[in-house]
Symmetry: C2
Subunit: 364 residues, 2 copies
DNA sequence: CCCACTTAAGCAACGCTGTTGCCAAAGTGC
DNA sequence: GCACTTTGGCAACAGCGTTGCTTAAGTGGG
């Protein structure tokens, strides 16, 4: 590591605190305290950031007996990213500013079975419609677009941006989505699983820089996004988080994956027959396995199926986890909550695939 | 992060490569290539290390047409650490030099039920007998002792060095082992779970600095040591790796933990009735769950019970994982191997709790 | 044997980092 | 209005890795 790396590391640290502070801003001295840098170092870093237009002064705090602190604020319009959520039947595209706030949004029906070229072209048009062509802000000033993040279900290679397979659509196997879309749009493109995007969104927005949690997403399938020590855990071949086919019942009922006793099959079967409490209990057992294995801070539940019965799922899963924690003599059980972000969270997380690295978040 | 942190980071990088190179050593230019630093920076860093006595020149390589490269080597005697493995019925203590090689070893029977004071005093005497009193090398030169690492079963708080409970010995609950032993010995003490120590040993010795793997330990109990991205994953409250009570059979046979269908119970019951293949299959299902969730590189099996039937366990667990990988259409399954290190691996890993940080390993 | 060539590694100067010491700016409060 | 407190920039500095050059120590052809 050399001096340049040191500089960008500390700059990211400062930017992250500015982002977290939001519109109310943060003073130089507070930045110094929180980063562990000296006030003078912070002054130099923020001076550079102000020159680059990323940071601006925004009023002052009340005096505490001396010169009042000058408040600094991130300039939201200094950069943008597009987040694209390709779900099985719907496309959601959001344009986010530097702070991650959604500036514009578009939705369109989507048929993943229509073939790669058609889907890519349709998605590209939505991105262009969202970000303007040529890319410009409503005011006319050029829109600094960092790139496009794409989130979609199914196993894929995050580092290369290649899809492995999308359940039910074998024609997508091996499709190099990142490179195709990047060439079509002329921008940087990052591809990730929808569960990872949802987890990244929470990690960047709601959690501290070293939080650990899991987002369980129950919709047409069941998957998990894992955040360990503040960064999305993708694993050696970026395939981590395959939670749906965790076996919780040896020789249980067959799953469409070919195995037996998978949580996903058991859980969805229970939902289908109207037994939400049973589904929550099965999900809770698998979730408790995960909590015990990884010792995370919080467990978040999301996805359409959970959204339809929020209270029952939170209560049911929480009960299983509390019971296990009590048996193990732990001080307190890991809390279970509904994942914030809602339906748009995945698309926002997709945009964060490009925004988060600026703030030293997400990848470590 | 300031300049001092940058310096120690790069120094650790260089030291780690020197350690990995072993007695055959490594040249300055190779260090430069591998670290990404310039040759001149490496020269400066290694000059400091030679002044401190940590590094020495050790011959030269064959010339490739010009001046031959000077080989540098870590000086093993420049530092030592003691590793202490408190198992249920036996104590193992090793004295390791900077390279992690075992310089001396002691074993003694142990009765964890004899009470904290007795056990601590016995352990302290073993450490003193091992490292000399006053601490000195056989030659008479002072032995630079970095500290003592202690590995033992059961959940505990790694950061505070306090035991939560040792199964079967309730009198240990809440015992501040680290502070008591540190005061008694007058050295730094670090406490960790035996499974984490075993995993750390493998991470430091056999694996690259960003390897991901799991060590499953099957003995009187079943636990896992997780190494993710080169560092031991301990989780938010340093309780991660509780693998034995992963539920793989809803409403299965009761486990002594009070739950039902835990892998540990199923697995050990199968072993007890002589059904090693069945035990391996159950372990394989839970291991496959772990592999799918975390996407690790390798799965390592260890512990007394595995040692007694190595081939059958490796084959049986491997079969389950391969079958699941084939169903998921993966290129190749995660390999399953016997954990290297053997019976002494845990004690050596305990010593690495103090050695590894010097090389930027283990904790990140 | 000598001399041109190649490769390794140290010396010196440099640019840049965060740090320290100092001072001007901008408030409060008696 | 003046003493005091606090903020934050300016200037000098130590220390990091980098660059340019020199010296050391080999090989190999004539």
């Amino acid at each position: 590591m050399n001096l340049g790396a040191l500089r960008s590391h500390n700059t990211a640290l400062v930017l992250d605190l500015l982002r977290t502070a939001g519109p109310s801003g943060i003073s130089r001295l507070e930045l110094a305290e929180r980063t562990g840098l000296t006030p003078q170092a912070v002054s130099k870093i923020t001076a550079r950031l102000r020159l680059d237009g990323l940071v601006a002064e925004a009023g002052r705090r009340a005096s505490t007996g001396g010169k009042p602190r000058t408040v600094l604020r991130l300039v939201p319009e200094a950069g943008h990213a597009v987040g694209l959520h390709l779900d099985r039947d719907e496309l959601t595209a959001v344009l986010c500013d530097l702070t991650g706030a959604v500036v514009a949004e578009r939705r369109a029906p989507l048929d993943l079975g229509a073939g790669a070229d058609t889907v890519v072209e349709g998605a590209a048009r939505e991105v262009e419609a969202l970000s303007g062509s040529p890319l410009a802000l409503p005011g006319g000033s050029p829109l600094a677009l960092l790139g496009v993040g794409v989130a979609l279900p199914g196993p894929l290679d995050h580092t290369r941006g290649v899809l492995h397979r999308v359940t039910g659509f074998p024609e997508w196997s091996g499709f190099p989505l990142r490179d195709v879309l990047a060439r079509r749009l002329g921008t940087a493109v990052v591809v990730d699983k929808d569960t990872n995007a949802a987890a990244l969104d929470v990690a960047v927005r709601g959690a501290g820089p070293s939080a650990s949690f899991a987002c369980l997403h129950l919709g047409t399938g069941l998957g998990a996004g894992l955040v360990l020590g503040g960064t999305v855990h993708r694993g050696a071949r970026t395939g981590a988080g395959e939670f749906g086919h965790q076996v919780v019942q040896l020789d249980g009922p067959p799953c469409e994956c070919g195995n037996r006793g998978c949580v996903e099959a058991l859980c969805l079967a229970a939902v289908d027959r109207g037994d939400v409490a049973g589904a929550a209990r099965v999900l809770g057992v698998a979730a408790a396995n995960l909590v015990a294995l990884l010792d995370i801070d919080v467990l978040l539940l999301g996805g359409r199926t959970v959204a339809a019965h929020e209270e029952e799922f939170v209560r049911g899963v929480g009960a299983v986890i509390e019971e296990r924690a009590r048996r193990e003599g732990a001080d307190r059980a890991v809390p279970v909550r509904v994942a914030p972000g809602g339906a748009r969270g995945v698309a926002e997380g997709a945009a964060q695939l490009l925004l988060a690295p600026l703030f030293g978040r997400g990848d470590g």
